[in-house]
Amino acid sequence: MQLIAKLGILADAAKYDASCASSGAPKRSSRGRDGLGATDGMGICHSYTPDGRCVSLLKVLLTNFCLYDCQYCVNRRSSNVPRARFSPEEVVRLTLDFYRRNCISGLFLSSGIIRSADYTMEQLNRVARLLREEHGFRGYIHLKTIPDADPLLIEEAGRLADRLSVNVELPTEASLKRLAPEKQAHTIRQAMGVIHQGQQAVANEPRAPRFTPAGQSTQVIVGADATDDRTLLRNAESLYQGYGLKRVYYSAFSPIPDSPNSVPLAAPPLLREHRLYQADFLMRGYGYKAGELLGQAGNLALDIDPKLAWALANREVFPLDLNRAEPALLARIPGIGLRSVQRLVTLRRERRIRYDDLIQLRCVLEKARPFIVTSDYRPAQAELRSGLLRQRLREPQAPVQMGLWA
């Protein structure tokens, strides 16, 4: 099979992995040296496809032959898809060619499980080793980690790659059993533990060889099973705390060709995915706890964002005086982001904050207005009931088409 045909199949097979970040790598440069590639911590999105997602890395599978039969996966062994396999040299060639063209900032390599977990992991490592050692490639490398692989292989991958990821896919034991019978929650966590230990071993050793400097991430599938957002967010929180994960990715389940009956054949729940990302960002960037964002079982509201939802549920905190409140609290005002908080704090050292300043800062005043006090403004509708406020601030929802087999 020709390289171009393989590329078509193996990129198609890899697209369901949401992660395409190339950020967080240490500073590396090839200026005046043999080899190719640089990283500086900032990711670059080199293109966007019409699904609105960024193309930052060459994201392919080494092979989409797979021994596993995960129901949600287009590459499961019982799936009737065309199959292909790259040689490690072919992946290297594609990576270097696309990199030279400035189409990508690196490689994200994953694979179906062939022969054994160890063998598959060895093959992934081989590609990374060829790139790093034979071709002096200093660009970004993200390797998928095969959960049951030998810890020594995972450690080797950690020294070669900027990022490793082990996918949780389904956060509950019951769902894994039903939809991914060959996978086990405890080996997934074990692999995360191996990576986390590798990171901690070099954490305070500036001279030690780097170990996954851009951290580890994972992905969960949203909407392939009945798991609710509360479970997803709690799971994410425990991963951030327990394994120092950099990112949890949420991937709305897209229907797959030749779909088994065990998974839905509905359009991917994109808005739900979006709300989960917002909530996740609030946990990572703003210090919200999962329990604050979603107290009871169920899903996040779709008609308002989770920050607004929290503010509406906690009216006693507001209105906040922008000239007095702590920065951490300012960041909890709907419509005012972290950057604006910084700018407000700088500005209020010079003079009192006025309502117009928020317009200049391009804050979303529609949302912020009921929750703030400035030197010349106090919300008239502060007494307004949260229910009414919500009616006013909710985003218009596209009508939901009824399922054929609801």
Binding site: L3, L7, G8, I9, A11, D12, K15, Y16, S30, R31, G32, D34, G35, L36, G37, D40, I44, H46, S47, Y48, T49, P50, D51, G52, R53, V55, K59, F65, L67, V74, R77, S78, S79, N80, V81, P82, R83, L94, D97, F98, Y99, R100, R101, N102, C103, G136, G139, A252, S254, P255, I256, P257, P268, R343, L344, L347, E350, I353, Q360, L361
Partner: protein, 275 residues
């Protein structure tokens, strides 16, 4: 009214601004010409001589911000900078902060400029030259790019970090830059032959990239607005994948794509894996 021309060079503007400030000349009494858009009402009064009596002190950070904002192509390009400088020099630091009306415009320009530098890093597409041509021109990679602001000179060393000893060139409708493996050669006027090489390089190898682009797209998640937000249409014509965008969108819209699979992959024969 003093009418000045700084030839769109920051250093020239800076020297002029220092003299103006030293003589206490109000921003309302000075204007910089911008190419053909001369201010017809401005009667040319010459720049005063000598540094002038006023010795302003401005924060070092301001100079860096003004230099960055100076790369912005747009109305009041140089006038705006002088107004900011004037106010800060006279003790009003809010003129450089985003909360102020003027400062907000300054910060917006800085943001646009750094966004445009980022666009350069993201959307430049190099075409590898065939070996014989590369040998003749002493050049491995060429690219043509149309930035909206004057960022080519300041933002291009990024590619020297990425491409090691590769020799490359980026041509634009105005300026150009070339790297010979160790040194950068920036030209305010892009030489005509650079433009020729960059615009007419044949690229049979681009089909691999287009194949990747088609396949990595998930038609079940069609969201063309997000694409346009992050990758404005003005860049498409110099991207090898640009011509695919409308095509892939309309295919997905026609509803042929009920799932995530790429069309051409779905047309191939499948294979179940035995155990």
């Amino acid at each position: 009214m003093i009418a000045l021309d700084c030839d769109d060079l920051f250093d020239t503007w800076r020297k002029q601004a220092r003299v103006l400030l030293g003589h206490g000349i109000d921003p309302a009494d000075v204007t910089w010409s911008q190419g053909p858009m001369d201010d017809l009402l401005a009667i040319a009064t010459p720049l005063p001589e000598g540094p002038g009596p006023f010795r302003p002190r401005v924060p070092a950070a301001l100079l860096a911000q003004l230099e960055q904002a100076a790369r912005y192509r747009g109305a009041q390009r140089w006038n705006l900078l002088y107004e900011v400088l004037w106010r800060v020099a006279h003790g009003d630091r809010t003129a450089m902060l985003a909360g102020d009306r003027l400062g907000s415009e300054l910060q917006r320009r800085i943001k646009q400029v750094s966004r445009e530098a980022h666009h350069l890093h993201a959307f430049v597409r190099f075409v590898p030259l065939p070996e014989a041509v590369a040998e003749r021109l002493q050049l491995d990679l060429v690219a043509y790019h149309e930035p909206a602001h004057d960022i080519l000179e300041s933002a291009s060393s990024h590619f020297a970090d990425r491409l090691g000893r590769q020799r490359w060139l980026i041509a634009t409708p105005t300026d150009g830059i070339r790297f010979d493996g160790s040194n950068l050669d920036y030209r305010r006027q892009c030489p005509g032959e650079w433009i020729d090489w960059a615009r007419h390089a044949e690229d049979p190898g681009a089909e691999l990239w287009r194949t990747y682009y088609r396949s990595t797209f998930n038609p079940a998640r069609l969201n063309p607005d997000a694409l346009r937000l992050h990758m404005p249409g003005r860049f498409w014509r110099h991207l090898p994948e640009g011509m695919l965008i409308p095509q892939l969108e309309s295919l997905a819209r026609q509803g042929k794509q009920r799932d995530g699979q790429a069309l051409e992959v779905g047309l191939q024969r499948g294979k179940r894996v035995g155990r």
